[in-house]
Every structure is written in structure tokens, then in C-alpha cells.
Symmetry: C2
Subunit: 457 residues, 2 copies
Amino acid sequence: MAAQRRIDLVLDSVRRLLRIGASANLLNLLQKQHPADLAQVFSELPDKEREAAFSLLAERNGRLAMEAISELGPEAGAPLLATRPAEEIAKLAQEIPSDDAAALIDHLPEELSASVLNLMRPKESGVVENLLEYDEQTAGRIMNPHVFALSEDMTVGEAITELQTNRDVEMVFYLYVVDERRHLVGVTSLRRLLLVAPETPLKRIMTADLISARVDMDQEEVARQVASYNLLAIPVVDEENKLVGVITVDDVIDVIKDEATEDIMRLAGVAGDERVFTPAGESLRKRLPWLGVNLATAFLAASVVGLFTRTIDALPILAVFMPIVAGMGGNAATQTLTVIVRGIALGELSWSNSRKALIKEALVGIGNGIVLGAVAALVAGLFRGDPILGLVLGAAMVINMFVAATAGVLVPLGLRAGGVDPALASSVFITTMTDVFGFFSFLGLATLFARYLAAAG
Amino acid sequence: MAAQRRIDLVLDSVRRLLRIGASANLLNLLQKQHPADLAQVFSELPDKEREAAFSLLAERNGRLAMEAISELGPEAGAPLLATRPAEEIAKLAQEIPSDDAAALIDHLPEELSASVLNLMRPKESGVVENLLEYDEQTAGRIMNPHVFALSEDMTVGEAITELQTNRDVEMVFYLYVVDERRHLVGVTSLRRLLLVAPETPLKRIMTADLISARVDMDQEEVARQVASYNLLAIPVVDEENKLVGVITVDDVIDVIKDEATEDIMRLAGVAGDERVFTPAGESLRKRLPWLGVNLATAFLAASVVGLFTRTIDALPILAVFMPIVAGMGGNAATQTLTVIVRGIALGELSWSNSRKALIKEALVGIGNGIVLGAVAALVAGLFRGDPILGLVLGAAMVINMFVAATAGVLVPLGLRAGGVDPALASSVFITTMTDVFGFFSFLGLATLFARYLAAAG
């Protein structure tokens, strides 16, 4: 938490300096920060102060300002740019790598982004436009198109000279090797260059068997490759295997975080891209449909209760215990569903081992049902002095927890087989099922055994 | 998905070769795989076949077998080792880096892990034992203690020679520089060595201002540093700033995934370390306490319903609509809670900007409440021919969604301020609140307006 404390200190100073209008001191403070820390400070500042601080920095140190809002992410960063004239945005965009610039420009209002692209240097805007042509969430969209490559006909000595003269090359832990038409043919490392004589042909020390990503590969798959093979970067090739870019591990970390966030949000019925400070109106629009579907299914469940109004009429005490059966089923289902959805996302679960998962969850569901059903039966039986009511409650819980467990496994696997994100739609299906089965089993059993149940006191 | 298809093919072949007992062919196939792919194959094989395939590989290619189960993770990997004699485990453990070995040995049954450590080469077992002395989930526990460092008194030429002779050095994208007592004093890169004359002192081209992690730093904080500063590795130092290890970005990716999984699981009331194939008995034990707490709170909510049995007695139709108010409040609260908990985890939300989040969520809650309350009021009013019942239902939903939104923000922030993981305990508190307030507002309003409500048809 030391880092957070330091940022809090900076944050306080920024706000104080803004208040007293000490621009020179403020600029001085901001320029001393790492872009990632600045992004953190920006994200915690109230809107007006964030704009003021960003404006000041953008005018004096465009690169740092742009690096900071790149770190902040395009959703939060682009609005800071959007208030500025297109000429200035075009100039600022040229200060950062094309992939970061593309992400920011893509999040500007449409007209503004078109003028910005028009105003950028033709070469730079061309690169950005090319990136924007790739589909969102693909390798092409997140790659850095400025990738350093060595020619396969070089010697090691020539390669070293090339590295020494190309001063702005950043990523040199992997040296990609291409043929004369820029097809990717191999990879080597700076360290390997140092271990052999300068006249050795590069071909002889390169590894021809290397992992690459196609421009149209889904970013999640790219992340999975980089993570499972422990890579620091992955070269990106087009359909002809020509080297067109590179994705480094820091971009992959962002993808992994975003995908995890998406899963967490979707499981809760929130859009994958919603964040804490998404404007209220947008959040409302994004959350309403899901709540609307839930309302419809709640009415469906209510209509099941409606089938038993006569029983409830005779025994109003049933209304007291009825939500317990449905609610506990919902809780148990959420547990199973979450374990299964995360297992799918982590690649631990597939069709081939789903039977094992189903058996396990069914056992856990029955086990939980028996233990909790017994407790609930005891409590209800003792406090109400009605052992049959307790038994009905316990039995309904066992049934509903078994339903919860099997649905928790089968629904996400089924959705996935049908090409639907299991994190997105599973929970609606499943809570509906646990509500309907919960009400039906409890009230149904109560109706069957009505004559043995004591009337409410 | 191409990677998954390839793994499915390998998986099928492995099962076929095991069935017909073609050990030589199987071994040949296994040895051609990358450790990460082998881990995937192992994870999808049924228990018996996994053990058979691992045994075969361990006997012939111990290193690959161990690398594969390291990739698989210690929870799933250690049980494969545990069936083998201690001598063999000790030999196998020496085939992989000490941090990976330590993680596996730590997950063996206690007696077995003690004998394994006894049987390892003193130097190796010493390193592993040292690692095991650090607390779980700290930098010390996940670092690689074999870190390559250069002395600050060297020249660039000497440093290059050192690199050329130390052939087993893996990570050379950052070259850490230490003084004669191994205090960390700077960092440079292989590429920078190539840009200057061999007689340049190392001191002159190193950066003295570098980011490091203390051995006792929480792994989550380590991951945050590496991710936000886009590092490929972070040096680990002891309390005297002596260099003791290094954590590379691939380990950080594992931490980020684990922490995200932990958050997802905890939000659903599942232990952070539970996985799809955690044995049923263990899952049951881990999930029961949470369900038990929920059962207790469900009885609490039920007792609120119990306060109104007289009203329900008179109007059993209330029992039909009652779960809708509570359920929709629960859904809305889960949305808010998830956005807030994830915002805290991503560092986007802190006390300083929590007021803004509270106002936003309250607005969204009221907005959702009005829209959905109106729909529910209409449906209930029209279908039941009782507009007052519709109004009561709608008003209760608005109230409960407002409660859901404010609780969804305040409970996780409050828990966090109290040092409790907000992902862990928030949902119990919040569903209890939405149930209690849902029942109370709906049945309370219905009791107030009882004389205007039509009796059930």
C-alpha cells in the first residue's frame, strides 16, 4: 500500500496547487511522475480538476500527458482529449506509439476522430487508420506495427551493427528474422548473438519453430498463448505470414485484466465494459435490459406461486418459508455456476471432462441440501412446533439444491456449445430455474401433505 | 481455438496409446509437446490415465514431466508426485527452478515433503527451504532466487564476458548491478552494453533509480507494480536492500489470474482457491459455511415476513408478488456491488472518489427502480385488476432498489476500510439487506394500504 500512499500525497498536492493556481509548481510536480502514477492521479481527481491538470501538462509536455492517458485507458482518456481542437489532438497523438494513438482516436466522437486523422502526418495517420481497420479485440488492433526485424541473410556482426544504429528500437529481447519479402522465418535473442563469432550467419543461430499470432486472432487467444508459453512478446503476421507487428506482454496483461473484469461483470449482469465511473445514464441503459429480463422471469416464478394461492390461503406460514427454499437454491447455483464459468475461462473445463464436473457438483449439491435442509427442518419444526412443515422445507431444499447444482454445470456448458458467452446469460437462466423449482417443490410438497400440516397459529 | 483443437487431437492419441499399451509411441508423442500443452493434456485426462501418462514421462524425461506439472499448478500437480517414492521426487525436484520446486513440495503431504527435502542435494534443498520460509503470497515465495547480477566495478567489456561465460543465465533483458556486499544499486540492459565502448564503467550506463520489491511485499502489490510500470521483471531485495531474487512477468501473469479468480469466486461465496476439480468433499466443506450464513440471514428475512402473517392471511396474493421485490433488489445490488468491488481491485476506486460513485449508483438505482417499478406496477395492476396493488409493488421496488444501490457502494467500501476483503463478505450483507428491506417495504406498504386493496380472487 506504500504506492497508494505516495499517490495520495501527490493527489493532495495537485489539488492544493490547482486551488492556489500555482501552475509552475504543479507542472513541476506532474513532470516528475511516472505515466502510470499520473494515470492513477488523473483517475482519482474530480472531473474539473482532472481536465485542468491534463490541459496544463498537455501544453508543456505532450508526450507525458499522452502516455498518462494511454495508461488510463481509452474509455477514460479520450474524453480528456475530446475538448481540445483537432489540430492539437493530431499533434499530441503523434507523441505516442500508433497502437495507443489508435485506441484513443477510436474513442473520440466520430467527426472529431475523422478530422484528427486528416490532420496527422500522412505516414502516421496511415498507420493508425490501418490499425483501426482490424476488428476490435483482435491481435491487429492491439499490436504495435513498429516491429524491428533482421534479415535472414545477415551475419551476427551485421545484426549487432543494425541494433546499434537503430536507436529507437525498444523491444530487443526477441529478435525476429524475416526473408527478403518480410515473411517471418525465425527468432533469436540478443544474448545468443553475443555467444557466437560475428561472422556466423544469422540463419544458423535462429530458431525456425516459433509461435506467432495472425492479425485476426482474438485477443483472448493471443493472451492465452503468451501466458501459457511464458512469452515476453508474440510476433503478429498477416495471412501470408508476413511480419506486421508485435504484441508485448504488457499489452497482454491488460487483455487478461479486461477479460477477467468482463467475466466478473457479466456474471453479475453488468456489461463487460462498464466501470465505476461510467456515466449514470449509460450505466442505467446498460443495466436495465438485464434487470428487465430478470423481472420477466420473476413474474414467471411468481406465477408458479400463484398456482398455490389456495394452499397459501389455508397456511399463510408457507409464505414465510417459501423464499428460503428459492434463495438458498439461488445461492448454491451461483457457487456452482461461478466455479464452472471460471473453469471454462481458465481452460480447465471442456466437454471431455464435464461429466466428472457434473457428478462432483451434483454430489456437493445433494450434500449441501441434506445438511442445510436438516438444519432448516429443525429450526422450522422446533420454532413452529410443526415437524411436518420442517420435513417439507428440508425436502424441498434438497431437491432445489440438486437442481441448482446440475443446472449450474449444464447451462454454462450448453450456452458455450451454442456459441454464447456462458458468463453472460447463465445466471438469468439459473436463478429462474432455482426460483421456479424452489417454489414448486416447496409449495407442491406442502399441498400434497396439507392435511398433515398444522394451520398457522 | 486452433490450439484447443490440436490439444484435443493429442489428448485422443494419448488415450488411444494408453489403451493399447503402446508406451514407446506414447513417450514419443509426449516428448514432442511443449510443457504448457502437456499441462493442458494432463488436466483434461481422467485421473488414472493422467497418472499413467505422467509416470511414463517422469521415468524417461524427468525435466519435461516436472515442467508440465509446474505449469499445471501445485494444487493439481503435487498429487501426481505424491504417489512416488521420496527419493524419486527429490531427484525430479532438482530438474526445475527452485521456486517451482518449492511450490510443488509445499503441496505434498507434510511427512513426504520433509523426507523429500532431506533427500535433495543440500544446496538445492537449502534454497527450497529458504523459499518456504517466506509467507505465502509474498514476493519471497514466488521469486526465483537464482538471479544474475553484475558488479558495479566492472567495465562494459567485462560485463559482456561475464554474460558469455554464464551460459545458464536465462533472463537477461534487465541486468541488475550490485555493490561488493550485493546491495542492489542499479539496472542496465544488454542493448545498452552494445551501444558504448567496452572500457566504459558499468556505473556510468546504469540507471540508479529502479523499482524493486521487498521479499515480504504482498504478491498482489508486486503484480500491480509490474503491470502499471510495464516491467518484464522486478528485482527482489531483503530488508537491507540486498538482491535476493527476481520475479518475472510470467509469474506476475499467474498472480493476476489467480487474484481475479479469487475475486470472482469470493463474490459468489466460494473459497478463492477452489477450482472445478477440487474434490467434492473439500468443496462441500468450503461452501457450507457460506451457505449456512445465508440460511441464517434467510431466516432473518423470513422473520420479517412473519411480522406480516396477518396481512398475508387477508391477502394471500401478496405472497405471489413479495419475492419479486426482494429478488429484483438482490439483482440490482449484485450489479452495483460487482462494479464497486472490481473498481476497488483495479485501483479505480478509493475513499477520495467514493462520494461520486455513491451518487452515481444512487441515481442508477432510483432510475432502474422507477422504470422497473412502473412496469411491475402495470403488469400487476392490469392482470390482477387492482391498481393499488400495482402502486404498492412499484413503490416498494423503487425503495428497495435505492437501498440496493447505496448498500452496494457503502458495504464493500466499509468492509475494506475495516481490513476485510470486500469481495468476501459483501454479498451476504447486501442480499440480507435487500431481502429484509424488500419484504418490509412491500408488506409494510400493503399493510398501510390494506383497506384499499382488493381481497384475492
